[in-house]
Symmetry: C2
Subunit: 225 residues, 2 copies
């Protein structure tokens, strides 16, 4: 099994603040897992006994709302950690995590992490900074949700995915979401999301081939926002 001390992925998250010794110890008790596209990593309300470090793939974090829709709150990329908040707050998971592509994740038991959090201030400060940043992002999402139109929000999501997850050689977005998932990110009806994407197509901002979306005019999209 791969070793945390040699894993590049940790450079992208707070685990980089751990000492070599701490990493070796964690490495010896972590477990690796392959998660297929569409599979659930953990579900809302579930008690997590540790955190997940995403080695590869992408997943969505979502929450079921009262009207039965599954609001997507965040997309998680390679390098991110999952479940720190539940672990720190000592609460059950507030969100469900579902793979959008095949994933490889490492599970680190709670006890190991909590210990380091209390004893290694570099680590805890890094986690604090990450959380401060996430809170800022959340506030910005709230403002967007409250003040922007569905069309603007959808354009922003396309730009966000393009910039954070990139596109393949054909310029197709690397993360492939269903129209329903797009709707569940921006908080609208699936038909509305479809309609607006169709409109973007007519305006030459994007083109599609099946579920795949290609960004044709990023500047134009930015003008929508």
């Amino acid at each position: 099994m791969s070793k945390c001390e040699q894993c590049i992925v940790r450079q992208f998250n707070s685990l980089k603040a751990l000492t070599k010794d701490e990493l070796v110890r964690i490495s010896s008790c972590k477990t690796s897992k392959i998660i297929k596209k569409g599979e659930v990593i953990f579900e809302e309300g579930e008690t997590l006994n540790g955190i997940y470090c995403v080695k590869d793939g992408v997943c969505k974090l979502s929450k079921l709302s009262a009207n039965g829709k599954d609001q997507i709150v965040k997309l998680v990329i390679k390098g991110d950690l999952l479940g720190q908040r539940s672990l720190i707050g000592n609460e059950s998971a507030n969100l469900s995590a579902t793979a959008l592509k095949d994933m490889e994740v490492c599970f680190i038991p709670k006890s190991e992490i909590i210990n380091d959090l209390q004893n290694n201030s570099n680590f805890s400060m890094d986690v604090l900074q990450k959380m401060a940043h996430d809170l800022k992002e959340s506030d910005n999402v709230i403002v967007n949700m409250a003040q922007k139109t569905v069309k603007q929000r959808l354009a922003e999501v396309l730009i966000y995915i393009y910039q954070h997850f990139g596109a393949d050689t054909n310029d197709m977005l690397n993360v492939v979401l269903s129209r329903e998932e797009y709707a569940n990110i921006v908080g609208t009806a699936t038909e509305s999301a479809i309609r607006i994407l169709s409109q973007f197509k007519k305006e030459g901002l994007i083109s599609t081939s099946g579920k795949q979306i290609k960004i044709e005019d990023i500047k134009g999209l930015k003008k929508v926002v």
Copy 2:
């Protein structure tokens, strides 16, 4: 000037995790401030050189959106800390803080707090827990913004204020917001907020006297949500 070691307010925030010695040191370098209703404590983009501990009063945290509206993201009550996130993230303030009532706040310089954050793991763990909790709340707000109607969100805000800030002997809500501020919390036009409040009045859920709002039927309001 009052002393932090003897201040009850700190029981409600992370400062409770500080040791007696740390409190004495902070007490000696903190400054107290009276802020009148309507005054700004700090503004979006401003660099904060410390954090504020709210001893009395209420303030709103808001962010100017592209369309010129001032989205209110959070209401802050006695006992809360302001500005930890900017301090931890080492960034300028993402939100503006404006007093909704006369306030008394204590300002604690950055250097003092950062030091304790790094050296007192009880303190940093408490801040971490607070932030984990705030993130959870933020996610819930995002889901509500995305999935609920304006009417539902407005009913929720009334319930929230009733439950968190209470009412006076006449059952009038303790926190008095303008209709525009209500609109800026739920993310709607001022007229829409006014209209819905009028509707709530007709339905006997609330009554008003000027800007003051009285909750007449909390159960009925909860049914709206």
